[in-house]
C-alpha cells in the first residue's frame, strides 16, 4: 500500500471532525466538553474505518456498498456508545446517527463538486 493513504486519513478525519462539530452546534450542543468528546470519538472511529475500507476495496470481492454500510454502522455504534457513556446528551445513538449521516452526505457533495472542477 502506498503512502497515498496517509494524507487521505488525515484529511478525512479533519473534515469529519469539522462537519460533525457543525452538526452538533446546529442541533444546539454547546458544551465544550461534549464537542471535545465528539472530536475524540471521531479520532477513535474515522481512521480505522477509512483504512479498513481501503483494504476491503483492494482485497474483498464482497459488495463494497454493503461493506461500507457495515463499517458505517460500526462507527455509529461506537460513537453512540461513547456519547451515552461520557455525556448526558439525550438519545446518544440517534445523535451519532445524525452526525455521521450529516458528515457523510456533506462529504459526498464535496467529492461531486471536486470532481466537477
Amino acid at each position: 500500500m502506498s503512502t497515498a493513504i496517509l494524507p487521505s486519513l488525515f484529511i478525512s478525519l479533519a473534515l469529519t471532525i469539522i462537519l460533525e462539530t457543525v452538526f452538533l452546534l446546529i442541533i444546539g450542543v454547546r458544551e465544550k466538553g461534549a464537542l471535545m468528546l465528539a472530536a475524540l470519538a471521531n479520532i477513535v472511529t474515522n481512521p480505522a474505518v477509512v483504512l479498513l475500507y481501503w483494504i476491503g476495496e483492494l482485497y474483498l470481492s464482497f459488495p463494497l456498498s454493503l461493506y461500507k454500510a457495515l463499517l458505517e454502522a460500526c462507527a455509529i455504534a461506537t460513537e453512540g456508545y461513547i456519547y451515552s457513556t461520557y455525556t448526558k446528551l439525550r438519545r446518544p445513538y440517534l445523535l451519532s446517527l445524525g452526525a455521521n449521516m450529516f458528515s457523510f452526505w456533506c462529504g459526498e457533495a464535496i467529492q461531486i463538486f471536486w470532481r466537477a472542477l
Binding site: M1, S2, T3, A4, I5, L6, P7, S8, L9, F10, I11, S12, L13, L15, T16, I18, L19, E20, K32, G33, M36, L37, A39, L40, A41, I43, V44, T45, N46, P47, A48, V49, V50, L51, Y53, W54, I55, E57, L58, Y59, S61, K68, L71, E72, A75, S84, T85, Y86, T87, K88, N100, S103, F104, C106, G107, E108, I110, Q111, W114, R115
Partner: protein, 260 residues
Amino acid sequence: MRKIFRYLAAIAAALALMPFIAVIADVIYEPEDAFYRAHSAECVYTGRSFSANGAAIAMKAPNSSTKAGELKNGDEVYITYTCLYKGSYWGFTESLPAWINMADLLQVYDYISFEQDHQSEFYSYSGSYDEIEKAGSALLWPWPGADKHYSVLRDIGSEKDFIGTAYKDENSREWGFVSYLYGRHNAWICMSDPMNEALPAFLPSPAPVKWIADAGYKDIAESRSPITGGNINIAMIAGCVGAVVASAAVIIKKFFKPAR
C-alpha cells in the same frame, strides 16, 4: 482541558500535514482508483490510445472479479497507466474507470509510433518560422502524413524556438514537432506549409498493432510481501492508525468521567 488540547495537538502532529486531495468526509474515503493507489510504485505511466481487439471486458481491478464495463470491437480507450499482475499486463482507463487486460487491446498509431518508426530521420530544427509568422496559425497533425489534422494552433505571433525536433518528408516538406505550446502538446506542424489542410496523406492511419510492454515492469503479485521495498506496508499503516485510535481512547478514559 488544556492537557486535552495538548494531547490532541500531538495526535494531529503525528498524522502530519500533506497536500490536499479530494476526499469524502466521515466514514470512508473513496480513492480515485484503489488498485492504482495501492500499487502506484509498480504502475507505469503509458498515456496512449488503444482500440479493443474484439469484445474487451473492463474489470474493477486486475485482482477483482467485478466487471466494470465492456468495450466493443474497435472502441477506442485512453490508457493512462499500465501494470503487470500475475503475468498479465493491465491498463487503467479513467473513462470507465476500470482496468482492461492489454492483450484485449491494440495500440492505436500515434506520434510515439511515428517516432519509433522514423527516429533515425529526425534532426534538430534550425530553420525559419517565417511561414508560421505569416500565417499566424498552424494546423496540428498527429504525425507527418496523417490523413487529417486534429486542431489549429492560433495566434502564434512571433513565437520562435518552440520546435526542437524536425522531419523532412519524401516531398521535402519540413515538419516540426511541438512538445508544448499554448497548452497544446505532442503534435506536428508542417513548417513549410502550416495552414494547408490538403497536404498529401502519405501515412494515413496505420492499423492498430499489438502493444509491447517496455522492460522494467515488476509483477505486483510477486512484489506483495509483508515487508515491501518502496511502499509503506499495510501493517505499518495499521500500526500507526491503531496507535492514534488507542491514544484517543486513552484520552477519553482519562479525562472524561462516565456520566450515567
